[in-house]
Symmetry: C2
C-alpha cells in the first residue's frame, strides 16, 4: 500500500515519480520527541469512566488519550486508524 506519490513538480507525468511507503516514514510528528520511546501505562483499576479511548494515531492534543484527532488524520491521508477503547 502506498501512501503518497507525486511527480517532480514539472507537470510532466511519469518522470521522477517518487513513492513513499509508510514503512519508511515516522508516524509521530510531535508527541514527546525528546523521549527515545513513548510508552504509557494505564492502571486499569483506576479508570473512572465506563469507556476511555486511547490514541493510536499520534495526533491527539490530549495524548495518550484520544481527542478525535484521528478523524482529521484519516480524512487528510486516506488512512483508517482509530483508538483503543478501554472498557470497565
Amino acid at each position: 500500500v502506498n501512501f503518497c506519490s507525486f511527480g517532480d513538480g514539472s507537470g510532466r507525468k511519469g518522470r521522477r515519480m517518487v513513492v513513499v511507503r509508510a514503512e519508511g516514514v515516522g508516524i509521530n510528528p510531535d508527541i514527546r520527541k525528546s523521549e527515545e520511546k513513548v510508552v504509557d501505562s494505564v492502571v486499569v483499576t483506576e479508570l473512572s469512566k465506563p469507556t476511555t479511548a486511547y490514541c493510536r494515531c499520534w495526533r491527539s492534543k490530549t495524548f495518550p488519550l484520544c481527542d478525535g484527532g484521528h478523524v482529521q488524520h484519516n480524512k487528510a491521508t486516506g488512512d483508517n486508524v482509530g483508538p483503543l477503547l478501554l472498557k470497565k
Copy 2:
C-alpha cells in the same frame, strides 16, 4: 518535524528536494484496511496478565497487541513510538 527527505536521484544537491511530513501520510500500511476505521475494545476486567502491551505503531503482526515491531519501525525511521501498557 520532517520524516524523510531526498533529492531527485541525480546526485545534485538542492534540486527538486521533496520533503514528506508525516501529517500527510498514512500511518497504517496493512492492518485491516477493509475497515473504515480500526477501533478495538478491551474489557479490562478480562485481562489475564499483570501487564499487557497494546500496539500504537501499526506494525505488529499480532495487532491490536504489541509484538515488539515498534523497535524495527523506530530504527528504520528515526521515530519514537511505543505501546500502551495495561496494568491490572
